[in-house]
């Protein structure tokens, strides 16, 4: 399936892009992260959470949507 990955803050800086699409056939968030760490080794050292359907999910959860967001630490307020 076609998966859109969104990057924010320091992660967008590390990947040099805010979003990109992948054709992705595996099931879990951790599979996706493995692939992203190969493309962007810098990401592996960053502190971030993963969101799908606007909720934070654990890294071993299944991918159930077509948009995944990688969120660095929050700084609102």
């Amino acid at each position: 399936m076609n998966l859109t990955i969104k990057y924010f803050g320091m992660l967008a800086e590390a990947t040099q892009c805010q979003e990109e699409e992948f054709l992705f056939s595996q099931e879990s968030v951790s599979d996706l992260l493995k692939m992203l760490f190969v493309k962007y080794p810098e990401l592996e050292e960053k502190d971030f959470q993963v969101a799908q359907n606007n909720q934070i999910v654990s890294k071993d959860s299944k991918i159930e949507t077509t948009e995944i967001a990688l969120l660095p630490p929050f700084a609102g307020g």
């Binding site: 924010f8 803050g9 969120l71 700084a75 609102g76 307020g77």
Partner: protein
């Protein structure tokens, strides 16, 4: 409880004192209110390794942030006896000394607004995906992390 629609809380740039003053004035017709409480987040000129922050550039995962703001509003109305609640947060550049967040709660009674404002500020800081780039006077930057 009546259904409340998600509101857009984001404003481009700093939140002006005129905007805050007008928000207060708009509540004069709501005469069941006996107490307001306001929290204003202001960008601080932190000094890090001899360099001083001159502005924060805010970005957000807006879809998720607006949904989180909505969840937080609903939970706050459930927990506290509030007449109304308004939350605004900046996107883009906010210079040191300027206001980046404005939270405004109102209730018939004072005790509710003191508890509600603290709850709200903590919830926003920990649950809403907003990111801040701290820009120093020499144009270098670092990424802000809420502590």
């Amino acid at each position: 409880m009546k259904e409340r629609k998600p509101k857009n809380v984001f404003q481009e740039g700093p939140i002006s004192s005129e905007f805050i003053g007008n928000s207060i004035a708009k509540h004069q017709s709501k005469t069941s209110i006996g107490a307001h409480n306001i929290f204003l987040g202001q960008v601080r000129a932190d000094e890090i390794d001899g360099k001083t922050v001159k502005a924060i550039q805010y970005t957000a995962y807006e879809d998720m942030a607006n949904e989180k703001f909505h969840e937080i509003r609903e939970a706050t109305f459930e927990k506290f006896n509030l007449t109304c609640m308004h939350i605004y947060h900046s996107l883009g550049e906010v210079k040191t000394g300027e206001i980046c967040m404005f939270i405004f709660v109102s209730s018939p009674r004072r005790k509710e607004v003191f508890k509600a404002i603290e709850y709200l500020v903590e919830e926003v800081k920990t649950k809403v995906p907003i990111f801040g780039k701290e820009v120093f006077e020499d144009a270098t930057h670092q990424w802000k992390v809420n502590s």
